[in-house]
Subunit: 340 residues, 2 copies
Amino acid sequence: MAAFTSRDVARLAGVSQSTVSYVMSGRRPISDETRKRVQAAIEQLTYQPNAGARALASQRTQVVGLVVPFGPAADTTGLLPFLETITGCARERDHDVLLVTADEGTSALTRLAGQSLCDAIVLMDIAARDSRLPVAAASRVPVILIGIPEETWGLPCVDLDFPEAARLAVAEIAAAGHDRLVALGYSAGEIARDVNYVGRFERAAVAAAAAAGIEHLAVSPMEPSPAGARAAVEQALALGGPRPALLVPSSSSVPWVLQALTERGVVPGRDVTVVGLCTDAAAETTTPPVTNVSTEPRTVSALAMQTLFRSLERDRQEPTGGVELVTPRLTRRGTTLPPP
Amino acid sequence: MAAFTSRDVARLAGVSQSTVSYVMSGRRPISDETRKRVQAAIEQLTYQPNAGARALASQRTQVVGLVVPFGPAADTTGLLPFLETITGCARERDHDVLLVTADEGTSALTRLAGQSLCDAIVLMDIAARDSRLPVAAASRVPVILIGIPEETWGLPCVDLDFPEAARLAVAEIAAAGHDRLVALGYSAGEIARDVNYVGRFERAAVAAAAAAGIEHLAVSPMEPSPAGARAAVEQALALGGPRPALLVPSSSSVPWVLQALTERGVVPGRDVTVVGLCTDAAAETTTPPVTNVSTEPRTVSALAMQTLFRSLERDRQEPTGGVELVTPRLTRRGTTLPPP
DNA sequence: TTGAAAGCGCTAACAT
DNA sequence: ATGTTAGCGCTTTCAA
């Protein structure tokens, strides 16, 4: 069964092909009478427009390219909420998502744009100095970054406000009456990859601690595994003094840190304060539920898509660019010590 | 900078447009001389063919549609290795992946095929009786299932050999000298969704236990959370006798079950045997590393893609269909009791 | 070994 | 309010 074309629809409805097109796009007024006939024909044939032909004629693919950090070195934890939200937002605007892996590097971008595979590109897992950015900035299609590099090249960026997240976490620790905190850092891989949020969070944490008059110590790197967490926790407890406060900015490590503490008989919320940077969903399922600053992947993704579609609608003329930040929230759960 | 077309390349190389096309596709002999001139022109202009035009003319999109189980009820754990392997295999064959969410239901399939958005479709998260299958079977493009429904509708299926996985797990438990095992079941959501592997695994486990002369008890459902695991573990220990053996077929629950046991002072590998069904990577990072039957998502995905491309090359005439199973492996780690 | 030319199915001027 | 028509950029016969 070969698919029907708009010509078949036109013939069946007794109108011209362009009328069928205009009925579907609504780009010019159509009498009720004809519209009904055309729509009936469309349904009768279960007509669906050919995407390739449409793209060729209209110069719009109705596809968003999504470059995700798969590949060996990638921080793949917590990626799914992003993917899910991005595809959902795309579908709402009648777009599909073409999945491309970051290990293609720069050529992913040139391919997506060069072959006219998509109308816009979402780039994730941005490094502080990301070699893809100059290519992205020169791209024929708009590109949006999820993450904030050192130099944006005029590209629009959306991300969590990591400095604010650090401030919230430090404020919580200060409010619990600690005069010192130990940050259990990111993994060696994340640090080596120069992922942008690592530095953004750390610098703000150090500054906020200084401002609050509390000491900032760090154990870094820490691998997100039970063993890595055990090693880091041992050091942290040695550094943390009699009433330790732990700040865990690496989502995937949060459960392991809690487990490592528990194993040692150190009870989070009774003997030690733990504040994690992770999604609320993840924080709710740890044992015990951890006081967290939320990372809001869904909000970040939705905002990115909104910005992207705005720039797509504005016929890509006005200068986009600029940084949009999503404000994290702190939720106190079971792992904050009461003030002394 | 508008993109160059094959006409530009042809003009620059002093050949006809068709020659450019044939140089790129290799579908007819070209003299070395002309080939070089054309390739030079292509590089000089950094020409890339327009995907829409190519699809329109050739009736091939070079895109694989991937329907993934996002959405509220989905078992999203362990999805990433599938996505990663599938996109990787696609790229190897010069294809891209269009990501579609399962919550679109049947319309995802009709849309992908109807709009000629892709040349083939990969369908994941198959229910035992899946309403999408009749639609898939009637689809204009080949569809492959990852998962095995009760009735395949002639569609090719690829999945782990869950019955064999159950047999391996039961054999391990029997070899450790247990005369009884407790299966900690799937989540209520998975059961309600009628996910195909649940029944396949359970039935085989019951049969294998009977054959081995050991008793098969079940605690089900169990939510994949610390609380759910604690509740299930409590019941399981009550049922398990003095020397309990636990079988955990739900990957996402394995770490929580181990944690719940440890919390109670019951040490896996000393007081209780635990066998989990999960990836080797996951099994290595639990505390302690758990004896596991591997789920091999990468092998399953790669096999599915291989089968898919075979059916694409064979010009979609021969009857595809049939079930391909990937054999799991059992790896003994720290959680198997020594025989008494 | 190469070229000319006819579409693929759609959109969007341009006419009426 | 609707129809006519000229492409969009490529592949692929058919001809030479």
